[in-house]
Symmetry: C2
Subunit: 457 residues, 2 copies
Amino acid sequence: MKNIKQYIESNKDRFLEELFGLLRIPSISSETAHKEDMYKAAEYWKQSILNAGADKAQIMETDGNPVTFGEKIIDPKLPTVLVYAHMDVMPVDPIDLWKSPPFEPEIREGKIYARGADDDKGQGFMHAKAFEYMVKTNQLPCNVKFIIEGEEEIGSPNLRKFMEAHKDLLKADVILVSDTGMIAPDIPSITTGLRGLSYMEVELTGPNKDLHSGLFGGAVANPANVLTKLLASLTDDDGKITVKGFYDDVIDVSIEERTEMAKAPFNESEYKKALDVDELCGEKGYSTNERTGIRPSLDINGIWGGYTGEGAKTVIPSKAYAKISMRLVPNQNNVKISRLFEEHFKAIAPNTVKVKVTALHGGQGYVSPIDIPAYQAAEKAYTDVFGKKPVPVRSGGSIPIISTFENVLGIKSILMGFGLESNAIHSPNENNPLEMFYKGIETIPLFYKYYTELMKK
Amino acid sequence: MKNIKQYIESNKDRFLEELFGLLRIPSISSETAHKEDMYKAAEYWKQSILNAGADKAQIMETDGNPVTFGEKIIDPKLPTVLVYAHMDVMPVDPIDLWKSPPFEPEIREGKIYARGADDDKGQGFMHAKAFEYMVKTNQLPCNVKFIIEGEEEIGSPNLRKFMEAHKDLLKADVILVSDTGMIAPDIPSITTGLRGLSYMEVELTGPNKDLHSGLFGGAVANPANVLTKLLASLTDDDGKITVKGFYDDVIDVSIEERTEMAKAPFNESEYKKALDVDELCGEKGYSTNERTGIRPSLDINGIWGGYTGEGAKTVIPSKAYAKISMRLVPNQNNVKISRLFEEHFKAIAPNTVKVKVTALHGGQGYVSPIDIPAYQAAEKAYTDVFGKKPVPVRSGGSIPIISTFENVLGIKSILMGFGLESNAIHSPNENNPLEMFYKGIETIPLFYKYYTELMKK
């Protein structure tokens, strides 16, 4: 593609100003108070796509938050790329750890700091700008569609139904997604596998009111004590998950494939240093990358109960809660796992407490082949920009909608991620290096070029 | 004593109005934001004691919250009773479970509802009004001193030093305290034993920032997961506490004494019904009353970490916390237990997390003899008012300062409590039946009468 670097250089201040406008919208999908912000974000995306050169763009309702759809069809006989991104972001707690307010983007030391700077406003917006470049310079080689959803961070509960109702509208040859990461700025990689997710909440009720721990302590089950025992029992000393039937559908990855994967660069001491931990841990018999890439996991994402303020309060809480998520590997069905979890948790709970288990959200895992034109086009695009052939990697994260796209629309996705581990997505001080933002915009048009060429053969 | 019932009847509206004034002050000692309220409460108590007829009353500084001291010395040769109460109250969380605001006292169905209605403003204020009656009707038979402190709910961290500095001022023959309960309105009881307390806070740090549970889940220790394992291990399947050395100083109560205690009325099915639990639990081999009265216990009073808001957030928290308290029996030293806990907890923590352990507060247990004049005077006073001889009981609660009084001042305490289990102290909707408030005021002057008579013999 001609002059892409120059185009970025001439327009970079405007690109940033436009991205900042999107980042300023607190579109937190898990908090109902932000419902209106979802519409603001949808409208912002609609205008961005139109301004970039789409034939049309519109906000479409779902049973939940709205979706922005847009397209530019230059020739129905040419291939069509469907770009997927999400406009919603994670909550910002713990807010006091942010160095600058999460919805007031600012640049410090060459990085954009804001909630969504990477996930997925920053990465999604690269596509708007790459598309603008191709349209404005008359270099768009194929048709493009955009679907920007507003519920990815809560598991896309309404997008399957939307897809089913709009199969024709969403028809495409490949789905292009930038919502994953690369190993390092100088080690490009393409995610070829994603884990699935089953996210649960449990509520334990002991006595019907908070009790004085002196008067009742020792004689009545404390739901917080019971909760720790139940949660502690969900993993064993080997780091295996004890939920009955949990591993039934896990397919072991072959030694050959594990040997291949082990070639990806990984420096354990740097990894530990970056996290400031003295020791790593996980399932016995697997390496760190295998533990996140090809093996399931179980994490307590939140736990609370009783008095959590300053000082001491001698109380036996009436209730105690936890949010627990399990990352799943391909072939594990998240609906089945959620059911197994609920059955198991209720079975192990003692009669001294009442138990409520709720499945909050979930999704299937995904594996992408590396021998299809779309993967090869992505590989060439990265190689051109980063000077190195990208490594195919299995990521521990989940984008549940990716497997749904394949199931409902029959379309494979290519995960062209540009995020770095240090971008702190889902955490305080989420950020995105300016360099990666611009390199993403530079890489994407090359994908279109190579993909169209390969499809024409 | 003459005309006490009539005196209460004629003044009951004023008594309540005066108590409500005290209840309206949000004197929460564990929250530094309420520092000024502690001074308001101290001033309110000073005026109350003076108005009731004290020779003098004053606010005295400590290294923490102030103390109100007052006295009326009618004859140095007569016995002196030191009344102890506390002006501070517990926090009010969870605030949304209160039917009326905690610091806007109101009467519903014959009960006063407010934080502190029982513990210990309601019970403490009975002494002010009983004292007023004796002074105004010229029936005060002995000398009276008042010490009202402002840090009982946080373990009276500064009162020992205050006592040591003011031994002469606090000199007395007996300490009279109303900060405990009775078995039921028709089953009077006097608390003869209190458990000690060791209250700890633990902080676990895993990675140096919150992490995405997909990208890192399974490979890095989640401090919330680790915390549940550590806390779960602190008690075993028999309900015994596993902290190394914990039971070393516990003196087993004799079978004879346990047989005597077992005669106290107790209805397990009503107890369970009142708490709405299907099953009780606790240390194997002991009854419910023994579990709270003569055996130590360990409770998680608060636990928190990660995302606790609405919906789902896929985060591995950087930190997880818990507040844990252990109720101790006489002869267990709370300082030693806090140290054993810290050593044990650090020893069992894996290298994958960093651990911080803080002792928040604590106190010794206490046993009161039943063959001293003060106990016998209290017994007679209850018998007159309630028509039944009170049962001596060991309570599970802790008033750490009681053992300190004995150690520093060499004075025994009599725990003339009038609280009921249904008063919900430390919980939402704390209350105190009007009937018990008036009966307390009626009982206290009789204690003074009988005590002075017995001491003269």
